[in-house]
Amino acid sequence: MALAEAPFREAAAREGEPGVRCTHCGLPVPSGMEAGGIGEPIFCCAGCATVYGILREGGLDAYYQMAERRQAPVSATGRRFEEFDHPSYHELYVTARPDGLLETYFYLEGVACGSCVWLVERVPLLVPGMSRAELDARRARVLVVWDGASVALSSIARTLDTLGYRPHPYRGLRAEALRRSEDRAALARIGVAGAIAVNTMLAALALYSGWLTGMEPAYERYFRWISLLLVTPAMFGPGLVFFRGAWGAIRTRSLHMDLPIAIALAAGYGRGLTNTVTDSGPIYFDGVTLLIFLLLVGRFLQQRAQRAAGDSAELLYSLSPSTARVVEGETAREIPVEALLPGMIVEVRADETLPADGVVVEGRSALDLSLLTGESRLATVEMGAPVFAGTVNRGARLRMRVDRAGEATRLGRILREAEAGALRRAPVVALADRMSGAFVLAVLALALATLALWWRTSPSFAVDQAIALLIVTCPCALALATPLAVSVAIGRAARSGILVRGGAALESLARPGTIFLDKTGTVTEGRTALLSWEGPEDAKPLVLALERHSSHPLARGFEAAWAGIAAPEATEALYTAGGGLEGVVGGCRVVVGSPAFVAASAKAGAQAAESGEGTPVWVAVDGEVVGRARFGDKVRADAGESLAWLRARGFTPRLLSGDDPSVVASVGAALGFAPDACRGAATPEEKLRVVEEESRRGPVVMVGDGVNDAAAIARATVGVGVSGGAEASLAAADVYLTRPGLGSLVALVDGAQRTLHVIRRNIVFSIAYNLVGAGLAMAGLINPLLAAILMPASSMTVVLASWKSTTFETKS
């Protein structure tokens, strides 16, 4: 039925609409692709046609009956994914199951909607030997289970790729398993604490009613023992978390909110226990269980928001390439980077990242060093030149011999430095935790004062009132204030492309300090582009015609800048390495290249000397220099405005770059930096040292994108990674900006300041409530019912205030 229906519907669509739509993805079909008669399937691209064929053959036509399908043309990479079959890949990513099958996780690119779940989970029907695929749509992660003896993982990967879901190895599986079991335990704790809190409150309701209207002592005793029976598992199950936290804080002599919480819980439980056994005085079990439940919920929410941001950052991390193309004889084979050994010959194509340190053995190209060193100018390499892992090939295909791989590379050393930097960083103590020390002292002092005040009247009444004070001043609202405000802020930030991996980072960002900015890729766009052109319009087609014959990055720069201009055909094009191009276009002899190269072939009178920012390129037509272009790294459009905003808020932005000092100075001057606030030619080690020095004086924010920034990012009070950066900087950063430009940094700082404002307001609320509670207890007016009303009331105020807060509002 489905076989006939899909094309039929397509035919109907063809009559109804002017544009023909693809049978597979439903997008308009380009005019050149139309083929076949009415009723025949039609496709927008070869990828969609392949998928249609596979699905029909595999009996999965039901896909075309789904109302909501992925509206994107299928773009398969056509890669072989041979690296997935390599033993070292299996060692790293594949687990053997008890039933003899193998399993692994992939991140899938292109998972967009419900139909993807359907399709991906039916891939086992298409690949014999594959037994299961289970997709987690939110994380775009699929669990693949297959029989290692009858099918190779690469063939599963190829099928996924053909269907338009490009698989990536899923890194950090171990950390993920750990976090998952933590999450599950937290959820179980909340469930237990919630059920107990509700039931204890029901028992308390009976007791309070009896208290107001009269109750037989036998029943009262019964309900008190029932309450004790309920509260005990809550204290020694879910509630144990707070005692562990408090004990840890005491042992390390650090401050933590768990300490005052543990004191209140212990006081309430201990007093309730003795009062139940001796059958006298109030019990506070309802308050204690509710406290445990609310605090656990607050913590869980904060953790979840941070996890979600962390997950997204990890996804980006997993998308970075992890394979190298090893050349063996005449053929190239892909293997995981982890399996590279010194002596191997590796092929690196244009726009690929070099996988190891080594020496060029074949080819000539230009390398983009910006992620490794911050250098914005491309470096030309040829036979025998040393090259480093982490740099990007921007020119033609290269072959290199691996000298050092993995940890031994310069990149590996920098990464280790980053890890060490992260360890040296002083932990940020959250505002609420910092207050906890003074809080504990104040509460204990007040409790003692209450005891002294009432001792002469009645020792047992004095003890009851002192205990009541400890319980009502339990910093429940205070402990909820920060987690809630932070979790709401992190969730909203993620929606505007800012991934925050810890609440402490937000608090630190709110306080003005020094902001170190990497230049290449952060303040500037990080790629070579045409900055200026002096010359006639009619020279442009001639240049373009010639540049078509080159794969040099500057040629692409011309093409990108003059995209709309049609170019004629060039003949006799000749490329001179390190010089430029020459050729004949429309009967004119055209030369494009470095000033020296062009001047040499031009008639007398041309001066090759030139100074200024960027790389100069001259154009000569028939021996006459007619045009002068400049190439360089463009400053981002929003940089000036963003820096002005940061300065107005009291921050001190400074440039810290590995690029040439003269380039850094000229960019800095254009953006209003004082000359001493710009620093160039900084090695990764120097960046780390500068950040370390400065962080002794105050909070330091490091914003960067490169591997060379990773150590400094890890060491700074708050490290910020920028879109398009290296995975090392991404892994080290507390905050990751997924949108390019410094506008996101402004949104981040602004949001952080608003969040701190909300936290402060919440803290004021809860302290005010605690003062009222303490005052009532000291005056001898408190009782369990009043405490049970006051406590949730204060927590609700904080919850509502956090939910209504306007942190990280999208301004656009």
Partner: protein, 62 residues
């Protein structure tokens, strides 16, 4: 009112069973992914189910 002595422990027993069931489900990862199963339920068709491995455990501990 002495019925309370029987009914209340019974009620608590029921709560205990429910809490145990929740903890069991949470620890087995039933709440790990709250979005995909909802989508999956919409698409599950009997024809495709027949192809799946018989009595496969839906989800196991990592």
């Amino acid at each position: 009112m002495s019925v309370l002595y029987i009914v209340l422990p019974l009620a608590l027993l029921v709560v205990g069973v429910a809490v145990f069931a929740f903890v069991w489900a949470a620890k087995r990862g039933q709440f790990d992914d709250l979005e995909t199963p909802a989508i999956r339920a919409l698409h599950d068709d009997p024809a495709a189910r027949a192809h799946e491995e018989p009595k496969s455990p839906r989800r196991e501990k990592p």
